[in-house]
């Protein structure tokens, strides 16, 4: 069995010290890795990223993250990335990583993604250069996640995004802002390349569960949506260690 812990939208501020550390206690014995779907900081201040790295100091599991729009806000995303990497966190923006766990390999392709909206109500690559630029950013993210997922191998393949690939996990947000919360292009890319699960955040008042049109489970792991510091996803497959795991795998 492989257990993935996932969360997003921590929005840590300078006054947040201690809040995430407290809930991570014991997680190293119940999960194999921690995936974060962006917005670790609130203002995108490097000092907030240091609050995060202090929170995970001494934490034993591999931590993989993408950045969110809040992590970009102050224009210090490169510095934030370095601070995270210096603390041993893997930051994905178009890259992928394979994590070898006791139960098998988890392969993660990650990128922030962007908005644009959903089928029938989406931004078109048309008109002013500013509009084309907006759409181009989303298209580039979709192409990137598709190509990195396509070349990934692992017992569990994860697409890690900040923006949503589908509408279902936005339910609860105001309809008018859906185009700022995600894009169908991300779903189309993931469906083409294949994955076992898509994790995202960003939609704080959205819903937890949905599926891409191609049938891949999508989970919004924003903390305000979960009502918990993180969610656990257990995959009963891969290299097996225990007898009970073996039974589950044989049946599937």
């Amino acid at each position: 069995m492989i257990t993935i812990a996932a969360a997003a939208d921590l929005h840590l501020g300078l006054d947040s010290a201690g809040s995430f550390k407290a809930v991570l206690e014991g997680l190293d014995s119940s999960a194999d890795l921690l995936l974060l779907a962006g917005d670790l900081t609130n203002y995108g201040d490097p000092a907030e990223a240091r609050v995060f790295t202090d929170e995970i100091a001494g934490f034993d599991l591999p931590v993989v993250t993408v950045l969110g729009n809040h992590d970009y806000h102050a224009g210090a995303e490169s510095e934030i990335r370095s601070i995270l990497e210096d603390a041993g966190v893997t930051v994905l923006e178009g890259e992928s990583v394979s994590v070898s766990c006791d139960g098998g390999t988890v392969a993660v392709a990650g990128i922030k993604g962007f908005g644009g909206g959903f089928a029938g109500a989406s931004a078109a690559d048309f008109g002013e250069p500013e509009m084309k630029q907006f759409v181009a950013h989303t298209k580039a993210a979709a192409e990137s996640i598709e190509s990195s997922l396509s070349s990934l191998e692992g017992d569990v393949k994860v697409a890690l995004l900040h923006y949503s690939p589908i509408e279902a996990t936005l339910r609860g947000e105001r309809l008018e802002i859906y185009p700022f919360l995600g894009s169908y292009l991300l779903a189309e890319a993931v469906d083409r390349a294949g994955a076992d699960i898509v994790l995202h955040g960003h939609a704080h008042t959205g819903a937890e569960r949905g599926t891409t049109p191609g049938g891949i489970p999508v989970r919004n792991v924003a903390q305000p949506v979960l009502g918990h510091p993180y969610a656990l996803f257990r995959f009963h497959r891969g290299r097996l260690s225990g007898d009970s795991d073996q039974d589950t795998a044989d049946a599937s």
Binding site: A5, D15, F233, R234
Partner: protein, 87 residues
């Protein structure tokens, strides 16, 4: 300085939302704002007490005479995670 009531309500709401997003002490995009007369009601959830208080300060700086009703909740996360089994 513009006060609430000196301009159409929708502009006041927009100015407040913009200020809450731009101010480093709030950087909040997830607060809902309603304006009626000289009152502002804010709702939503933030992650810290300091940020909840900062919302009032930001609105107070923008509209010094505003009566602020702060209905923002500070996020309390249940320690037990949700567990989902996927095949």
């Amino acid at each position: 300085m513009t006060e609430l009531g000196d301009e159409p309500v929708e502009y006041s709401v927009a100015h407040i939302k913009e200020a809450l997003a731009a101010d480093p002490h709030t950087a909040e995009l997830h607060v809902e704002v309603q304006v009626k007369g000289s009152s502002v009601a804010v709702t939503g959830r933030v992650t810290t007490d300091e940020r909840r208080n900062a919302v009032e300060e930001v609105i107070g700086r923008l509209y010094p005479g505003a009566r602020i009703q702060n209905y923002i909740a500070v996020e309390v996360l249940d320690a037990d995670p949700t567990v989902e089994d996927l095949s």
